[in-house]
């Protein structure tokens, strides 16, 4: 239990630090800003209590908000995504999946994991950009920013999962 908590804390610190020091400064073509700290929520296994996912998501979003000087923006988006994550994982997990199953390329299958990550990152990025702009006044700019940021976030999450998967394999 303590090991899991420490591992998650480590992921939280690493993702927030990466967002603060690297990803906040990336604005590809003036539109795409990656927000890969949502990856923290992809790590929660099937048997996680829903309140713990909510709290981890909220704290992660809030820390990134304070680093980006946008209080509440990431926290609101992460909390909503954290609320949906257990439902989505339960819906996408195989019928014979173990209760402590963690989403990965191995457990959900390559295409299954991509779909899982795509839906969660889509939900998070969409909420984030809607709260950020709060109107459809510049609808085309908003759509381009949202779509490019989502794709960039998704690619980064998939890459991180690939690296994590290899390390888990080598540990075994």
């Amino acid at each position: 239990m303590l090991v899991i908590f420490l591992k998650r804390t480590l992921w939280l610190v690493a993702l927030v630090a990466a967002q603060m020091m690297v990803f906040n400064y990336i604005h590809l073509f003036g539109y795409a800003t990656p927000l890969p700290y949502v990856y923290l929520l992809l790590l929660f296994p099937l048997d996680s209590s829903r309140w713990s996912v909510l709290l981890w998501g909220f704290v992660c979003g809030l820390l990134c908000d304070f680093a980006s000087l946008t209080p509440g923006l990431g926290a609101a988006s992460m909390t909503l995504t954290a609320f949906i994550q257990p439902l989505l994982l339960r819906a996408m997990a195989p019928k014979d999946a173990l209760e402590d199953m963690q989403a990965s390329y191995h457990t959900l299958g390559g295409w299954g994991y991509v779909r899982y990550a795509a839906i969660l990152t889509l939900l998070f990025t969409l909420t984030y950009f809607l709260l950020l702009s709060f109107s459809f006044f510049h609808a085309i700019d908003l759509a381009i920013s949202f779509a490019s940021s989502w794709l960039l976030t998704l690619v980064l999450c998939l890459a991180m999962e690939k690296v994590r998967g290899r390390e888990v394999k080598s540990e075994k």
Partner: protein, 284 residues
């Protein structure tokens, strides 16, 4: 109780979700300038619309009383008109005299009918919001009247709404006179009773009686002369004893104000400009 505890235990993650979202949104709207201004704009618009809807309902419900006041006012005016016509006929035997007199008085004056959106009488400094703004031709320092008498002066305007500084405000000082004489003073409110105001600075040698009519003096570009304000209820002395202080029973019932009119005088901007020029010349 047990059912409640079971319910909370079963749906605790829902409650936590709502709490965390509320905290996040409060932070978002409180500490981000853009979202904060959008929130303020949206709430102000919504509250104004709600007040307007509420005022519409109340207006509809009090139409009967409003109608009675208008009828009463109309009767008084009809009587005054008949009396004035009779006097002019006696003096000049000229049947077109009244029409000419009225036309002369109303020349250059336009009345903009508006609805009262919000109103208060309980504070020391009351304000009234009306449903017309700059887009409707309402400007600062225009006079506001209702069917029964004087209301106040336009204080602030936005595109579609305006704030009126009514008589029931400590900052309101309106020049008024006693009908049929040239004695004038300043009408102020003591902040106690919305039915009464005080007419200060009436000279000691003035002759008048309880029940005399108080009307606007016309000594400013805001109100034309002769607008009914109220009646003298009691006579007292000013604090320094050098003039009279009259207690005036106001004709306007501020507690049931619904329909008012803004007075747009054609030459008001010109007069005000001239007054400003004179002030600045005197200051130098």
């Amino acid at each position: 109780m047990r059912a409640l505890l079971d319910f909370i235990a079963k749906y605790h993650h829902w409650m936590l979700f709502v709490v965390l979202e509320v905290v996040s949104l409060v932070l978002l709207f409180q500490f981000n300038h853009y979202q904060h201004s959008l929130w303020l704009t949206a709430t102000t618009e919504t509250v104004s619309k709600a007040h307007e809807a509420e005022a519409s309902v109340l207006r509809y419900l009090t139409l009967g009383r409003e109608n009675a006041a208008l009828t009463r006012r109309n009767l008084i005016l009809e009587y005054n008109l008949a009396e004035a016509t009779r006097q002019i006929e006696i003096l000049s035997h000229d049947s077109t005299g009244t029409e000419r007199l009225q036309a002369d008085r109303m020349e250059g004056i336009e009345l903009i009918p508006v609805k009262v959106v919000t109103n208060s009488v309980m504070r020391r400094d009351n304000l009234i919001t009306i449903s017309a703004g700059a887009a409707d031709g309402v400007r600062q320092e225009m006079g506001v009247v209702c069917g029964t008498g004087l209301v106040g002066i336009v204080f602030l305007t936005s595109e579609h709404f305006s704030i009126v500084l009514p008589l029931l405000n400590s900052r309101s000082h309106i020049s008024c006179r006693l009908r049929g004489s040239d004695y004038f003073g300043h009408l102020v409110w003591d902040g106690i009773n919305p039915l009464y105001a005080q007419l200060d600075d009436i000279p000691r040698h003035a002759r008048f009686n309880i029940g005399d009519i108080v009307e606007t003096s016309g000594f400013s570009s805001v109100f034309p002369p002769g607008i009914f304000v109220g009646k003298v209820e009691a006579i007292g002395n000013s604090d320094d004893g050098l003039s009279y202080k009259l207690r005036v029973h106001l004709a306007t019932d501020f507690t049931a104000l619904q329909d008012v009119s803004v007075i747009a005088q054609q030459f008001q901007p010109e007069v005000r400009e001239l007054e400003h020029q004179a002030d600045s010349m005197l200051a130098h």
